[in-house]
């Protein structure tokens, strides 16, 4: 074999191409094979099948509702991480942080608005997605368990939104969470204890703010990501999106 291929000069000459090839690992082949490799050779795309049924692409079938919910979740993670740079879970500082976002931080208002409206929209779209799955009978075998995961995801979404609701520490937040957590206290026998566990006390205060903050930025997002992973994985294991039986 030629030794020139390994000379330093040659290496530098082919540097861009070699770096690119080491990252994307394309084997070549027909155009069809190239496109297939683009999907399964990519860590971020490999949740997709290489080929997808035409029915799954019909906008009028899914309206993209589940995907919209997922995109809103991504937007919420991105905007939420940025908000974390400006937020302190303290009853003294939380509300002042809100005012700073409004008047001091560049585009702070827009950042908070994006997070707030995406959160409301995600609750709505997750519910609409559930309606779509119901009305198309997509929870029938073999997709029963994915429906169960989906119901759990809806509950996690509601709880994520609820815990985030307290964080601005304004009157709206404080009394909404007071009302919401009082509903939990109606549980017979253990109601008061459940509320105490949730709030870290009998009333909404510093402990409640800290608990809601930790649930909102760490625990619940983690649960949501894991459940989403299972939800998406099961779509493929259950044979892709549902479609008419005789198809």
């Amino acid at each position: 074999m030629s030794e020139t291929a390994y000379s330093l000069k040659e290496s530098i000459r082919h540097l861009p191409r070699n770096i690119k090839e080491s990252i994307i690992r394309r084997g070549g082949g027909t155009a069809e094979q190239e496109r297939a490799a683009a999907v399964f050779g990519n860590m971020f795309l490999h949740v997709h099948p290489v080929r997808v049924h035409l029915n799954s692409l019909r906008a009028g079938y899914t309206f993209g509702l589940g995907l919209i919910s997922f995109y809103l979740f991504l937007i919420l993670i991105a905007s939420g991480l940025l908000l974390m740079f400006y937020y302190t879970p303290s009853t003294e500082l939380a509300y002042r942080n809100m005012k700073d976002l409004e008047y001091v931080v560049s585009f702070g208002v827009v950042l908070r608005n994006v997070h707030r409206w995406s959160a409301h929209a995600m609750v709505a779209f997750a519910f609409l997605h559930m309606c779509r799955v119901f009305y198309t009978g997509s929870y029938k075998a073999p997709r029963e368990f994915n429906w169960v995961i989906g119901v759990c995801l809806l509950l996690v979404t509601l709880f994520l939104s609820f815990t985030g609701y307290l964080l601005p520490w304004d009157q709206l937040a404080f009394w909404a969470i007071t009302v919401g957590s009082n509903i939990a206290a109606y549980m017979p026998g253990i109601g008061e204890k459940v509320r105490f566990l949730l709030l870290g006390g009998n009333e909404v205060g510093q402990m409640a703010l800290l608990r809601f903050y930790v649930l909102h930025v760490a625990v619940l997002p983690l649960v949501a990501v894991v459940l989403l992973g299972v939800h998406f994985w099961r779509i493929r294991k259950d044979g892709g999106l549902s479609r008419p039986l005789n198809d």
Binding site: L72, W117, K140, L158, A173, A176
Partner: protein, 173 residues
Amino acid sequence: MKAVNKEEMFPKDPNKTYSLMAIVDGETFNVEKGPEDTVQSWPHLMVRELALFLLVFAVILGVSLIFNAPLEEAANPLHSTNPAKAPWYFVGIQELVSYSAFLGGIATPALIVLTLLLLPYLDRNPKGTGVWFSRDRRVATALFTVFVVVMVVLILIGQFLRGPNWHLYLPWS
């Protein structure tokens, strides 16, 4: 169509219930088509997904540039707002609580969640899968629609028609 007699090539077997009747010229159904009506995910699926993401992001950004998220005065545990309302998705439950604390606040939500979790194990008839509002599932469709409408109406009442002390008020009064 052109039928060709091949009887001498494929003699009829008296022990079999089937036999070759004719050979017909024509195309099979899968010519120029992927297996089982599929297309490549790249680009057909992913281009659509990307377009949808851009749309969602643009809409959220547009809304956020126009409407500000609500921010009231700083929280004051000594001075309650009247009425104090839960977040909109729980206002329907709050409306039920105003009729009966246990039935509305605990029993009904628990029943709803339990029914949703068990639904695919209770309704197992595969007929009508993959079709919107299938005629084979009229009862299920009707029941679920009643559930959705009741939820939405309760939320609308709680959100827009309830004023101080949870009395009925019209939105403009």
